[in-house]
């Protein structure tokens, strides 16, 4: 460590008060009331001394900043995409891409939904269809590549709607909602061949591509000896463009981009980015943040970094399993996903078991986690709740921030709550916002 950030300890009474004020929604807690913050791995990384040095080299010119050209070069070199449009974060890129490619009535198949991604697709008039393999919906299935696409499901969609109605297939690496599960290179290659035949683009949600590449190196035949950097480039080569939230893999606190190989789409995106984000050579980012991103991208594909990163997540997961806590298996790349349906089997899904469990963990130790279940899934266009098969609490590990001792505290807290699980009561929702309700919804104890 080169620089530390001081933490505040809280008492059980303080936490009880804070949780009540936050309406049993961990998003609404003040971060100073949180001891270990596992809400997200997005934007929470500790930057390296090299990145901080890059921050001092920010060129804040409105047009043509050198940091933009550096970033463009790195994206080309490390990721292999031709054209770059920086955005203030990943959802900025999703917004622009959805508006350009999706027409009303279009179908967007993908390997499991993600909250903001699906919302942008729907707002642009499209409909998301899940084509992930069935194994992904079973938290106990130990298949290595639960992020894979079921090509039969895709083929059925193509036959039903016609390829012309499918502007692109949306592929995430390290599928977040499935528990950070990777997609295999073999599956990607097959998908590519299928899409090529039907002239359908593949757009890559690449926010955790390096973590996915690490799993390919560890588990897929023929990749044992390949460096992560090479694997990342091969993954990207099977896709036509990407949206990136650099706040994950790329080790920055803010930033994202849209990367494309098609000139026409790029040109349209470049005109649109000025309205939503900023001129196309800064996209709503300070020059220093583009520099930190360029350096972070380089660091994120180093084998040593990614081994330590995923290793820490696996350490925490193994420790929880030793305590008997039900988690999604195999352990994913960026966090531990606890199976709340099983953990709190006496609470029906309509009483938000994952939301409840996240609140209980905070009350026990000040560890902040996030619900990924019925609250996050939201409602269908007709107003009915989505009831997802997975009802999870996500313990997301920020990159390079917490030590092994912190991991021990987290596992011990989860174990204490697990021991008292039968006494825990569910919740009811008392306030529900229109979009992305999980961010701001409020609850009361039953």
């Amino acid at each position: 460590m080169k620089m530390v950030e001081l933490l505040k300890m809280t008492t059980a009474a303080q936490r009880k008060k804070a949780m009540k004020e936050a309406g049993f929604n961990t998003f609404l807690l003040k971060s100073e009331d949180v001891y270990i913050d596992l809400l997200t791995d997005s934007g929470t990384a500790a930057m390296s001394d090299r990145q901080w040095a890059g921050m001092m080299l920010g060129d804040e010119s409105y047009a043509g900043s050198k940091n933009y050209y550096h970033l463009e070069e790195v994206v080309k070199d490390v990721y292999g995409y031709k054209y770059l449009i920086p955005t203030h974060q990943g959802r900025g890129a999703e917004n622009i891409l959805s508006k350009i490619l999706i027409k009303k009535g279009d179908i967007i198949p993908g390997n499991m939904y993600f909250t903001t991604t699906r919302l942008h697709q729907e707002l642009a008039g499209g409909k998301f269809e899940d084509i992930i393999i069935d194994e992904a919906h079973d938290p106990e299935n130990e298949f290595d590549f639960k992020g894979n696409v079921d090509l039969d499901k895709l083929d059925r969609l193509v036959k039903k709607h016609g390829a012309a109605k499918i502007p692109y297939v949306s592929i995430a690496t390290s599928v977040n909602m499935a528990g950070g599960q990777p997609i295999s290179m073999k599956n990607l290659r097959e998908l590519r061949a299928y899409c090529k035949k039907h002239k359908i683009r593949i757009i890559h949600d690449m926010t955790r591509v390096a973590e996915n590449a690490y799993f390919i190196q560890q588990k897929e035949k023929g990749y044992e000896k390949k460096p992560v950097k090479e694997i990342v480039k091969e993954i990207n080569s099977y896709t036509d463009g990407a949206t990136m939230s650099a706040k994950k893999d790329a080790l920055v606190n803010i930033g994202g981009f849209l990367a494309l190989n098609e000139w026409d789409v790029f040109e349209e995106a470049r005109n649109m980015v000025v309205v939503y984000e900023g001129l196309h050579t800064y996209g709503g980012l300070a020059g220093r943040d583009m520099e930190a991103m360029a350096i972070g991208i380089g660091e994120s594909v180093c084998d040593d970094h990614i081994r330590a990163r995923v290793g820490q997540v696996i350490y925490l997961g193994n420790k929880m399993m030793e305590y008997g806590i039900p988690i999604v298996k195999p352990i994913g790349g960026h966090g531990i996903f606890v199976d709340a349906k099983k953990f709190l089997s006496h609470i029906p899904q309509g009483n938000y078991p994952a939301q409840t469990l996240a609140a209980e963990i905070y009350l026990d130790s000040g560890v902040r986690t996030m619900e990924r279940g019925v609250v996050s899934a939201g409602r269908k266009a007709n107003g009915e709740n989505y009831y997802p098969k997975l009802e999870l609490v996500r313990f997301t590990i920020p990159r390079r921030v917490y030590t092994q001792a912190h991991m021990d505290v987290i596992a011990e807290s989860a174990a204490r709550v697990y021991e008292q699980r039968n006494k825990i009561k569910g919740l009811k929702m008392v306030y529900e916002p229109k979009y992305l309700r999980f961010f701001q919804a409020k609850f009361e104890k039953l």
Partner: protein, 457 residues
């Protein structure tokens, strides 16, 4: 009177790369005579914008190091929120990654086909955001504001009679919002008087139209009120700013101007329902309401910058330095917008280059000449930025053809400014040699950012 020195000294420097006139000629040609296409390393003095180009203070950099990057509920947000509540008196504060995002959200909620947004003058991105929703942006600037060479104290004022007539014509129900831009950027960085704001507020109130302030340069405007308006000489700039905001129902701000930040912006308001709708949209395109697409460190830097800008020694220096360059140019006979504005010097290209027709973009041509002569990057505010085509595809020119030399805050020294004056005066002496331009490629909206042009022989 003694020289007004900067109320700060330099803590960190950034090198400038020198190039020759010959090299610059080639660079401009390769950039298709559009300075937005030039790499910043090829620019000696970058006066393209005062937006996001400030030098932050050591205190702000310390804030950058203290930024709390928690996704939700960061203390950096609560500091940011409290500072804005203190200055504006508005309880509901919504951070955004920059000013245009705040506008985008506000206009998405309030805009739509058949609606009119009325203003003293809307800036380019503001207008684009309004028009994107199908609504129309209407500029009702006072008469003196349209005459660059005539000095007047408050040339940013809105024409209140025209506002009343417009309401009578279109109906208040079709006007969801009135926006006062302080200072008036497109009209020369000219201030709006408190009296005018109050008069506009009165009309708005009578007709149930909410009033918002585009507050990018609120401190500079408040300083002008203190200097020029009766009854304000003894009030602090903070008090004046507070009074200014007290007349409004809300504001949008790009923190990249008066808050000395390199990135960031916000929306603030009184109306809870409107805030709720804005936050719903915020989450989709910007981020969670306690970070709005900004790093925690940037929230800190903005909060600190908003306090620093209210320092009257700073504002005196800031406004005086713009005046210094303006006066040098006036003495040499260069036609400039008078009196000096708050953040930039505006050269009247229409008057300076009468041999170039508006349809040949005289201000763009002049900006090119300033770059070639001295490596100075300025920006055209004229028919390239604001011109439109009529049905027969011929250009409807903008009211004015200006070249804006925006002075970044706390970045350049007096010798840089002396150099800028020398370059402009040199170009002025040889003005007959400047040629008009024609567009060879353009985008349907905000074309000035990416358009390609070539000289007319």
């Amino acid at each position: 009177m003694h020289t007004i020195i900067e109320p700060f000294r330099i803590k960190s420097v950034e090198p400038i790369y020198f190039n020759t006139k010959e090299e610059r000629k080639l660079i401009l040609e390769k950039a298709f005579n559009n300075l937005f296409h030039i790499h910043s390393k090829d620019v000696l003095i970058d006066l393209l914008t005062d937006s996001g180009t400030s030098a932050m203070s050591s205190n702000q950099w310390a804030g950058i190091m203290q930024g709390d990057e928690s996704y939700a509920g960061s203390p950096s947000f609560f500091r940011f929120e409290k500072t804005i509540q203190d200055i504006t008196g508005m309880p509901l504060v919504i951070p955004t990654h920059q000013g245009r995002a705040a506008e985008k959200i506000l206009f998405s909620v309030l805009g739509g086909n058949g609606k009119y947004f009325v203003s003293n003058t809307l800036f380019d991105t503001t207008r684009a955001n309004i028009e994107f929703t199908g609504a129309e942006g209407i500029d009702l600037l006072c008469a003196e504001g349209k005459l660059p060479s005539v000095p007047a104290p408050f040339k940013g004022n809105m024409d209140t009679e025209a506002f009343k007539n417009f309401i009578a014509e279109k109906g208040a129900a079709n006007i969801p919002l009135c926006i006062i831009t302080v200072t008036n950027n497109s009209g020369g960085g000219q201030p709006v008087s408190m009296q005018n704001i109050k008069a506009v507020k009165k009309i708005c109130k009578e007709n149930n139209i909410p009033l918002f302030i585009d507050a990018c340069r609120f401190a500079e405007n408040s300083w002008f009120i203190k200097q020029r308006e009766e009854g304000y000489a003894d009030k602090s700039v903070k008090e004046i700013a507070h009074e200014l905001f007290s007349n409004a129902d809300g504001c949008t701000m790009s923190a990249k101007k008066d808050a000395f930040a390199n990135i960031g912006g916000f929306l603030a308001m009184h109306d809870e329902d409107l805030a709720l709708q804005c936050r719903n949209l915020l989450i989709i395109t910007e981020g969670f309401p306690t970070y709005g697409g900004l790093a925690g460190r940037d929230l800190e830097a903005i909060a600190i910058g908003l306090e620093e800008v209210l320092d009257e020694n700073y504002l005196q220096y800031r406004i005086r330095s713009i005046e210094y360059l303006t006066n040098k140019l006036i003495d040499a006979g260069v036609p400039v917008m008078q009196p000096a504005g708050g953040h930039a010097v505006y050269i009247d290209a229409k008057e300076m280059l009468p041999h170039i027709l508006p349809a040949q973009y005289p201000a763009q041509a002049l900006a090119g000449a300033l770059y070639t002569e001295g490596g100075i990057r300025s920006v055209e505010i004229g028919s390239l930025m604001f011109g439109k085509y009529d049905e027969g595809k011929s250009l409807i020119p903008a009211q004015m053809e200006l070249v804006r030399l925006a002075i970044p805050r706390r970045v350049y020294t007096q010798s840089h400014i002396d150099y800028v004056a020398e370059v402009i005066i040199e170009v002025y002496k040889n003005k007959e040699q400047i040629k008009g331009l024609q567009i060879i490629e353009e985008a349907p909206t905000l074309r000035h950012f990416t358009a390609k042009l070539k000289p007319i022989n």
